[in-house]
């Protein structure tokens, strides 16, 4: 009986400890930033700078709790009750998913400049040292001897950008002939040897586990791998790619609940400050601030032809046409 009583007590205190999470207590505020995979290093750095800025401005001490994973999965977790104050995801449609769950107010995309995307990126190739398969452009990916690593567009935001970048190339090559585009992209996905659930997992498959000849990935992710690898890889910028806009938004319902709306908004607006834009560039995200972007033109290939999501009629349309159940991706990836 004593044992039972003790167990019940332990259980109770344990559960209470779990429930005891408080966003604001005294002079201290905790912000939960639910983000996607490749932003880990960037936000780790940015959080420190923001904490300094916020303390100087308001005297309040802010600590940011990070969560990272595949963008789509992260959005789903927020919709299912993960108490994020802000979401900084890979693409608009993932934030739209949180909006449709009733957690983010409509019109979030106009809350901040540049479609609420404080930094952008694009899709490039990472190949092994010396580029042994001589991969220069999208055409080379569908050669018989090439094995590709890219994540699954169903679960990964980055993977959807990869898909659309490939489609952009095909679309220009075949002057928008949909059947030919479809055939090209189908052929490309037939060369995929590992279809991971997130961008970071795909990178790990390529770099850590030595899978494939080419990784289709974010430009920033490619640079991080280069910096980490002592010359084991090379980055190839294809002739055509897509301007990837990872968007950010305050999760209004949660922030109001936690009493963190002000700091959450400031957290996102400060991403547009010169200081934050410099940090973005330092972690190989393309800053939206044109001058800071130009300053880093030796890092970012500014000659690539970049299509935008608007060329696909916006994310709603692209999502419905390509990635929804029964969409183009389903039809080409069925074996």
């Amino acid at each position: 009986m004593k044992a039972a009583g003790l167990a019940a007590l332990v259980l109770l205190t344990g559960l209470l400890a779990g429930c005891g999470y408080q966003a604001v207590s005294g002079n201290h505020v905790t912000l939960i930033n639910v983000s996607y995979d490749p932003t880990r290093e960037f936000y780790e750095s940015y959080n420190k700078v923001f904490a300094g800025y916020w303390e100087a401005k308001t005297g309040e001490n802010v600590s940011v709790v990070q969560s990272h994973g595949g963008s789509g999965k992260q959005a789903l977790e927020v919709a299912n009750g993960l108490e994020a104050d802000v979401v900084t995801l890979a693409l608009e449609s993932d934030i739209d998913a949180v909006e449709s769950a009733g957690l983010i107010d409509q019109g979030w995309i106009d809350e901040l400049p540049d479609d609420s995307a404080p930094y952008t990126s694009t899709i490039v190739f990472l190949v092994r040292k010396g580029n042994p398969k001589n991969i220069q452009d999208w055409d080379d990916l569908v050669r018989d001897d090439v094995a590709i690593v890219t994540p699954n567009p169903k679960t990964s935001g980055g993977a959807r950008w990869n898909f659309l970048a490939a489609w952009s190339y095909a679309s220009q090559k075949y002057h928008g002939d949909e059947d030919k585009c479809r055939a090209f992209v189908k052929k490309l996905y037939e060369h995929v040897v590992v279809l991971d659930s997130g961008a970071r997992a795909a990178t790990t498959s390529f770099t850590g586990n030595g899978q494939g000849d080419v990784l289709i990935c974010w430009e920033n992710e490619a640079y991080l791998s280069l910096a980490d690898s002592d010359g084991a890889y090379e980055m190839i910028t294809p002739s055509v790619s897509i301007l990837a806009q990872p968007s950010v938004a305050v999760v209004d319902a949660n922030a109001q609940d936690h009493g963190t709306a002000d700091v959450a908004e400031a957290y996102l607006s400060y991403l547009y400050s010169d200081k934050a834009q410099e940090i973005a560039a330092q972690y190989y995200y393309r800053p939206v601030n044109k001058e800071i972007l130009k300053k880093h033109s030796d890092t970012f290939d500014l000659t690539m032809k970049l299509t935008t999501i608007d060329d696909f009629g916006g994310w709603d349309e692209a999502q419905r046409r390509f990635f929804a159940d029964g969409g183009i991706f389903d039809s080409i990836y069925e074996h």
Binding site: V10, G14, A17, Y21, V34, S67, N80, A101
Partner: protein, 274 residues
Amino acid sequence: MENETELRKPKGAGGYVLIAVSAIFFFVFLILPLVTVFQNAFSDGMLPYFKAVMDVYTRKATLLTLEVTAIALCVNTVFGLFAVWAVTKFQFQGKRILTTLIDLPVSVSPVIAGLMYILLYGRTSPLYPWLKSHSIHIVFAVPAIVIATIFVTFPYVFREIVPVLETEGTDEEEAAAIMGANWWTIFSRVTFPHMKWAFFYGIVLCTARAMGEFGAVSILSGHLRGLTNTLPLHVEILFNEFNSQAAFAVSSILVIIAIGILIVRSLLEARAKG
């Protein structure tokens, strides 16, 4: 004498091949991976190893894992004892169904268990408004991790004790009851001594399983750094951050705990036999 030693030696090529196959199997699947963990953990020397192990997030993850394991263990021990007592000492309707249900968690994939609790306690659940209005956070918070761990370790204590008590029968308890002993005396003086070793063994298994749980916890945790990351999740995160040395250093904590548990287990087995 000579004949006996002859018998113990493997006969012909077949015997040696079998031994070689098992030895290689053992080496490739068990020894090599373990060595790799420690080799990678110390690949940059002692200092980075201890830096990774003493890192604030690692410490928080370790504490959380220990806390969750302790709670799961207490709950499952108490539950296991009650269930065992009911199943082996009494006859009642639906006993078979109950014993089958208790085994369910080992046959259900942990991922499904995780999703189940998301549907039950998550934002889309009818229960959610009530939980929310009482500020009870379950999913993507510590309670969900505890619940998931309890679920996956549910049958261990029960499963270990049942066979022991089933062979024991109820005669001794009945004798004690006739002599006027109350239930606590019967339990502590008659029933418990019989099942003592099986009971400890069940606890050991339950602990080992709880520490390493990944699937269900991964779905329910939300991966909030320093809040809801258990050790196995923390290892995955470090690995995904290209920080494999730290990932292996943190893994080594789990490996060391696991080896400790195995030693306790062998000691218990030795005691039980002796």
